[in-house]
């Protein structure tokens, strides 16, 4: 850690645990005053020069948001002061198509995260968002030539109005979906828009990285992915924020439309700092023969509520989701998965692994709903948890709701700790007990790590190791 950063953390009175927890040197730009009202929504819309229908949608969402009470279930949100959040802040930088055009201080941040390098080697395209605005976006030429669109969401509103109007917060995540989807719809900014034309299979992943830097900031990026008939695409999202004393809020929204026979793989590693409220909405609507694959890692944030959902509305649609959660001291991570099987021969699998230590709270909350139309549908849910010490808590609340007799639905969950025998065996082979513990935790997370693209697997492994060092060190 550089002397300068150490100074910052000392000033804040907060120990910065990982390099990503340190705030970047401020990039003075434009930020709205904290708090939320109609004027804030007007201001955001004016900043972006938005069409009227979008402004109307924002205002309707705001009205709904103000009328809707906070959810009565799940983690405690009382520490989240919605009036203190800065809902829009724009860094003093324009969107660039080349990393050398990105201001040096912002670039340093993303360099440290390894985005430019990954883009060069393994990605088809990359985007980076800093607070409310996207500061970098580029798609490799070959994909652009085939009609693939990979744009900043704000640009997409201008360049592809019909597509956006048809798919943006309509039947996938309607504006009225829930309290924080309403908030998102009112103040969203930035994010990614991806359109893959029929039959195009994008060979390498597209990636976006979201960095929230402002104290008491809010990030509300919107990701809209449309995979047209028979196409396929893989998209990776990474997120982080520095650590401040006051809470910040992330309420993003991901909408994925999967047309007949198309396939989307969506991976995200969310590593927000420990004072972030991560109240995120992710949902995919899958048509006949399509498939969605969710891969998620939840390591950071103080409080998370995140339940990626798959709506399988076409016959033979599939959903596969795999998640890993690591809850450390002071964290309340309430994550899960929803699958709605509403057509014949649909298949959904959910696998979740949670690890908690040091008083952390990890909750799995799942819902599998099989409607009467889902003949010959199959669903399986599997969640395993590992508790590393006696002060931590694991909850699992799965729900299976089945209205059709021609189905097979199973659920299984286990909770336990690392067995003495396992540690004994490994120590008898010459490992120290700490190494043994680390190895077992890594093995426990392995099914998830294996499925990640290599670079991410390395990152996740490092994050796990970092967490474990705190646990055993």
């Amino acid at each position: 850690m550089s002397p300068k950063k150490r100074k910052i953390s000392k000033l804040r009175g907060v120990a910065t645990a990982s390099p990503l927890d340190a705030p970047d040197k401020g990039v003075a730009g434009y930020a709205l005053k904290p708090g939320l009202n109609r004027q804030v929504v007007f201001d955001i819309s004016r900043q972006k020069n938005e069409p009227k229908w979008l402004l109307d949608k924002r205002l309707r969402a705001l009205e709904l948001f103000q009328r809707t009470p906070l959810p009565k279930w799940g983690p405690d949100l009382s520490r989240l002061d919605l009036n203190k959040i800065v809902y829009y802040s724009r860094p003093a930088a324009k969107e660039a198509g080349d990393w050398s055009d990105v201001p040096a201080d912002i670039r340093t941040t993303f360099d440290r995260l390894g985005i430019p390098e990954a883009e060069h080697h393994v990605l088809s395209g990359a985007g980076a968002q800093y607070d409310s605005e996207v500061i970098y976006h580029r798609l490799k030429k070959e994909w652009g030539a085939q009609g693939v669109v990979f744009e900043n969401m704000d640009t997409a509103v201008r360049k592809y109005p019909e597509l956006v109007r048809k798919y943006f917060m309509t039947d996938c995540v309607p504006v009225s979906d829930h309290k924080f989807a309403m908030l998102h719809a009112a103040v969203w900014s930035g994010g990614t828009f991806i359109y893959v034309p029929p039959g195009v299979k994008v060979a390498r992943p597209l990636q976006a990285y979201f960095r929230m830097n402002l104290e008491r900031g809010g990030q509300f990026e919107h990701t809209l992915i449309i995979a047209d008939r028979g196409s396929s695409v893989e998209y990776i999202e990474g997120c982080s924020a520095p650590r401040y004393v006051d809470s910040s809020l992330h309420a993003g929204c991901v909408e994925i439309h999967i047309k007949e026979g198309a396939g989307v793989k969506y991976s995200s590693i969310e590593n927000w700092s420990r004072n972030t409220f991560n109240l995120n909405t992710k949902r995919a609507v899958v048509d006949r023969g399509g498939s969605i694959e969710w891969l998620s890692g939840n390591m950071g944030s103080g409080t998370t509520m995140l339940y990626p959902a798959s709506v399988l509305r076409g016959a033979g649609a599939r959903s596969d989701s795999l998640g890993i959660v690591f809850a450390g001291p002071g964290q309340d991570l309430d994550v899960g998965m929803k699958a709605i099987l509403a057509a014949p021969e649909t298949v959904a699998t959910v696998r979740s692994r949670s690890i908690c230590r040091g008083g952390g709270l990890a909750t799995f909350r799942g819902l599998v709903r099989v409607t009467r139309a889902a003949k010959e549908a199959k669903a399986s849910v599997n969640c395993d948890s590992l508790i590393l010490d006696a002060s931590s808590t694991v909850n699992t609340h799965p729900t299976l709701r089945v209205d059709s007799d021609a189905v097979d639905v199973v659920h299984e969950a286990t909770v336990g700790r690392i067995g003495e025998e396992e540690i004994f065996y490994l120590t008898s082979r010459g490992l120290t007990p700490d190494q043994a513990k680390k190895m077992i935790v890594n093995g426990f997370a392995d099914p998830v790590i294996k499925r990640l693209p290599l670079e991410y697997a390395v990152e996740l492994n490092k994050l796990l190791e970092l967490e474990m060092e705190k646990a055993v060190g």
């Binding site: 909850n395 699992t396 199973v410």
Partner: protein, 404 residues
Amino acid sequence: MRPNQAEKSIVRGVNEPAWLSILRRRAQKRYLAAENPGLKYGLGVSFDAAAVAWPFEMRTDGHDEAVEPVISGDRGLVFTLTEALKDKMIAAGLRKRAERLFSADDKLYAWHAAACGRTLVVYLPKGYRTVRPIRIDHTLTGSLRLDKLIVLAEAGSEATMVERLLSAPEQKNNSSCRVAAVDVLADGGASVNFISIQTVNEKATIFSRRRAWAGRDAEVRWVSCGFGGTFSSVSTSTVLEGAGARTDIKDLFFGHDRQRIDLYQEARHLAPAGHSELACRGALTDEAKAICRGLIHIGRGAGRCQGRQKADTLLLNDAAEVATMPSLQINDDDVKCGHASAVGRLDKEKLFYLMSRGLDPATATRQLVEGYFSPIIGEMKESGLEEMVSCLIGQHFQPAADAC
């Protein structure tokens, strides 16, 4: 209900001691303050509470039928509340645990605690073992029946209790409601088995709340079989408050027509080295609907506990509906806990196999369903109810000439 009406619902004039009257009044207050049960358990998992005939909304005057339960087996151990309060030993035991016995979390049971007069007390002295099961037969004859059973099992005692609930034959077309509470207090090393079977008519509404507190090395086993009723709600919970306590909770149900079945099982581990097994096994046909919820809670410091929870449902018809919600709340690392649930249909291959051996489809189905239920029926060995349960299940496939 207006307060003065509620006031009427309190039991009066049965010469109850002052401490009990105070508790009843407290329960009544809670009842008046509480909201009606919502029957909403999660996203899209609910019953229509408006369609349920809540007993506290019925007219309360002259409702409670007079027919007392028939008790057989070890008759000498069963007392009415009035008798029990006259006996110094038992009265002292009741008073010591009174707060617990007359506590209630929801509106219905707060009302029950205030209004229920018909209370039986089973007293098992230290080291006592029943030779035959204590059998209690309830027959629904009127529109509303409230009853309560308190089991005081002193250290090292052992007992099996069998409860049977049915509608009187002349009740065929009348709707009725029963609200029952069973509280078991099992002291160190005591072992209590409670087996129940319910075959009321299709217009009856049934509420059963079963609770147990298990002391050191005590064991409480619950088996319950539900067949009848338009709406039946059974909630069974055991608090394992002594080290090494064990509990088994097994529910069996067979739902048909438009039956609504609401099941809840809970094991609360507050002491180390406890063991709990929760199982729920049912079949649904026609337009029946069931919600099976469960919870295993491990308190902080309750290490070396084991808890298993299993919920299986067989859907025999497309219009039947089930939701299962097993939950775990684990606050200690030294545990082995898990749950599993499965929803499915009869295995077509097994059916085909049986038919290829000459069985007609109805018999083959019946055999498979019986096989599916056999693990829970096996738990009822001592009760003498095994055959009856098999017969009741079989009825759904081949209407028998004579009733079970």
